[in-house]
Amino acid sequence: MDMEKIRVIIADDHPITRAGIKRFLEKAADIDVVGEADNGEDALQLVANLSPHVLLLDMEMPVKKGVDVAREIQATGAPVKILALSTYDDKQYIYGLLSTGASGYLTKEEIPETIIDAVRGVAKGEKGWVSRRVAAAITSWTTDNPSGKTDLSRRELEVLEQVVLGKTNQEIGYGMGISQKTVEKHLESIYSKMGVASRVEAAVLAVRVGLVGN
């Protein structure tokens, strides 16, 4: 029986970049590029109309930026997996994108094989596909703020571990025998100590710097 192909939309404002990415993806028999967008608004339209499995999303686009596209998709609850493919490795782009629940963040230096592997991975539901340069950047930001690594209490580390496992506050509270309110309090403290703004950022950082197991 034929496996269903991974349906991909490429959103990038540069035609040559889209052409190149498309050519890369054409090497994979299990991937089908079903649409291309040159701005954020069109990307949203295509996601709504074509229901792709994966959206390859540039960050700097006209009309609507990549982060805003990802946020709107998250708000609609569309099942499309978002994989950023960006020139930039700035903190605001990376954190901004990953905190929307996006599955990964690749930089454009990546070779075709890596992009193909990442598309396959995120289509299967894998998270945290980041380029080596992005991972190094995340690590250095945390190293610059070492309190994130050293100041977490044992209890906070336990909560963080559950966050990495994708548990909700209610599930964490139930598992640890503490109230949801207490979980929230622990999370506030964790975010503050790690210098992050959301559970996804905390989870990504925690895995990247080895605070908890993957």
Binding site: P15, I16, T17, G20, E109
Partner: protein
């Protein structure tokens, strides 16, 4: 005889995209690709291409410097800068360091063939529409 070209860009997807556009043009042959400035200089030495399609923002040696070094060596390889940036300083920086033309990436699909042909015939100062607009907002059209 075909125009022999080396593409220099740190993004493999961009190199592939440019290749894709050039493939449609019969008198052009891509003979090499480089992902950084050092490799670009080595390839020019080794392959002596007719033209270098040169990105400006490279990870090691910037495009300005690559162009300058080739110019100082009196290299016969002509340089067409290709960049996502249309800032005046980028355009002038490349042209003053020896590039014969400046093509903004958004203009590639429509203009790349004309750019390569013009520069290979000896035009200097070729600008794609967006670059031209930046240098001459109300002035003369592209060369």
């Amino acid at each position: 005889m075909s125009i022999r070209i080396v593409i220099v860009d740190d993004h493999p997807a961009v190199r592939m995209g440019i290749r894709r556009f050039l493939k449609k043009i019969p008198d052009i042959e891509v003979v090499g690709e480089a992902g950084n400035g050092t490799m670009a200089l080595e390839l020019v030495d080794e392959l002596k291409p007719d033209m270098l399609l040169l990105d400006v923002e490279l990870p090691d040696i910037k495009g300005f410097e690559v162009a300058k070094r080739l110019h100082e060596k009196k290299s016969q390889t002509k340089i067409l800068a290709i960049s996502a940036y249309s800032d005046r300083q980028y355009i002038l920086g490349m042209l003053t360091n020896g590039a014969a033309g400046y093509l903004v990436k958004d203009d590639v699909p429509d203009s790349i063939h004309q750019a390569i042909q013009s520069i290979s015939r000896g035009t200097w100062g070729w600008l794609s529409p967006i670059a031209s607009q930046m240098l001459h907002p109300s002035g003369p059209p592209t060369v």
